[in-house]
């Protein structure tokens, strides 16, 4: 799969949680450099949609293709094109920020110096503090920083602005702009669509 020509294709998607139908007949496509904002009330299936696009859950019907391949059948190496940031941070509370970042750098095959990476991500100020000692907003910032490691082309963000202060929101918004300018794609589930909306972005209401 060539990273430069990746596009995402959702076709007649049907999502269920247990027996409950959440989404049906959802189709849209996303091209490089494009952002999709997924909105809707709590419980409408925003997180389920993101998890399904990430390949963590299977759709009840329909298909999701990244670069022409079904996301549930991606080779491990191609999974690196998708980065998903969920409600849960996916970080270890007993490790320091540096140890968490180093782990994700190793596992995603990023060979840069961790010092530079953390400086670039704006988290070097608390690099040697354990996650336990960080505020919810700081943890969110570290988790979003992890998203940038490995250069995934498709970002899936679940309420990325939760717990962030204005400075953090600006930082994340800047990362998103940069990612889209670099021909990346992003799907963001949010209640703050107005804040994240950009020209040409797709609005998906569930």
């Amino acid at each position: 799969m060539t990273a430069s020509v990746l596009s995402l294709e959702l076709s007649e998607l049907e999502l269920k949680r247990g027996d409950r139908l959440l989404v049906s007949g959802l189709s849209f496509s996303l091209r490089p450099g494009q952002l999709a904002l997924v909105t809707g009330p709590n419980g409408c299936g925003k997180t389920t949609l993101l998890r399904t696009i990430a390949g963590l859950a299977r759709p009840a019907a329909g298909s999701i293709r990244l670069g022409g391949q079904l996301v549930t059948k991606l080779e491990p190496i191609d999974r690196g094109h998708i980065a998903y940031q969920a409600h849960l941070e996916g970080l270890k509370k007993d490790l320091t920020v540096r140890e968490n970042i180093l782990f994700f750098m190793e596992i995603r095959g990023v060979s840069d110096s961790e010092h530079e990476v953390m400086q670039e991500l704006g988290i070097e100020a608390y690099a040697d503090r354990s996650l336990r000692q960080l505020s919810a907003g700081q943890k969110r910032r570290v988790a979003l920083a992890v998203l940038k490691l490995g250069g995934a082309k498709l970002w899936l963000l679940d309420e990325p602005l939760t717990n962030l202060d204005p400075e953090g929101r600006e930082l994340v918004s800047g990362w998103l702009n940069q990612h889209l300018a670099d021909q990346g794609m992003a799907i963001v589930a949010t209640h703050l669509a107005a804040e994240l909306k950009r020209p040409g972005s797709l609005l998906v209401e569930l």
């Binding site: 963590l56 690196g80 969920a86 941070e89 490995g150």
Partner: protein
């Protein structure tokens, strides 16, 4: 990528285990308590197994069973957390989505768990062998047979843990599912040790344990990886 993912997860899990003392100390304390306290509950005059054999032989024979049982039960301790910790904080999702093969991640987690929970028991065996007055040969055999058998125990219990990752308070369920599967290991392990105590060749039970472990270690992680993936859906 596969090798480095194995090492990365191994290092991470070892570091986490040493920061959460209870993780490696609990199985060890359990093993120590059971193996150490058991002789206190025995009446020396009732230990003679048959008129021809003395109390010592009775104590040794019981000791072999107790040490194997204690090792088996302590290997069950904490295993419900093996995948639950990663599922609870969202890191399992990140691991499954990472470009590293899930199988090498599973192997890394199992290796870390074995190093933290089984290796210390094997190192403690000589001490408890002496408590039960086992011969040097029997102690060496017990340690070696445990060394061969514990990887299979780790894999079997991990299959149970991976299958029950969405079930709260799953420890009892894991025990029920997994203990019968561990029975062959227990039987042949205890048999190998008893044969060494009688200064006879223990090759046959050892071969059986080794083949069981080979099977568990080569196929088990495939089942674990599949169970982890299904558990996230």
């Amino acid at each position: 990528m596969a090798g480095s993912a194995f090492l990365s997860i191994l290092r991470r899990d070892l570091r986490l285990a040493f920061r959460r003392v209870s993780e490696w100390a609990n199985p060890l304390l359990f093993f120590t308590a059971v193996a150490g306290m058991f002789p206190l509950a025995l009446s020396p005059d009732r230990l003679a197994m048959s008129p021809g054999e003395g109390e010592l032989y009775g104590l040794q024979s019981l000791g072999i069973g107790v040490l194997w049982m204690a090792a088996l039960l302590s290997s069950l301790m904490g295993l419900d957390r093996l995948f639950l910790n990663d599922a609870d904080d969202g890191s399992m999702e990140q691991l499954v989505l990472s470009p590293a093969p899930l199988l090498s991640i599973v192997y890394g987690k199992l290796a870390a768990h074995w190093l933290v929970s089984a290796l210390p028991l094997i190192l403690l065996v000589p001490v408890f062998g002496l408590v039960y007055q086992l011969t040097a040969d029997a102690i060496a055999m017990l340690a070696f047979a445990l060394f061969l058998a514990t990887p299979a125990l780790t894999v079997l219990v991990a299959i149970g843990a991976a299958l029950t990752v969405n079930v709260r308070s799953a420890a009892a369920v894991i025990g029920l599912v997994v203990l019968p599967l561990c029975a062959p290991i227990l039987i042949y392990g205890a048999r190998a040790t008893a044969l060494a105590l009688d200064a006879e060749s223990a090759a046959q039970p050892l071969y059986l344990i080794a083949s069981f472990t080979f099977l568990a270690v080569s196929l088990g992680p495939i089942a674990i990886a599949a169970a982890v993936r299904v558990g996230l859906e």
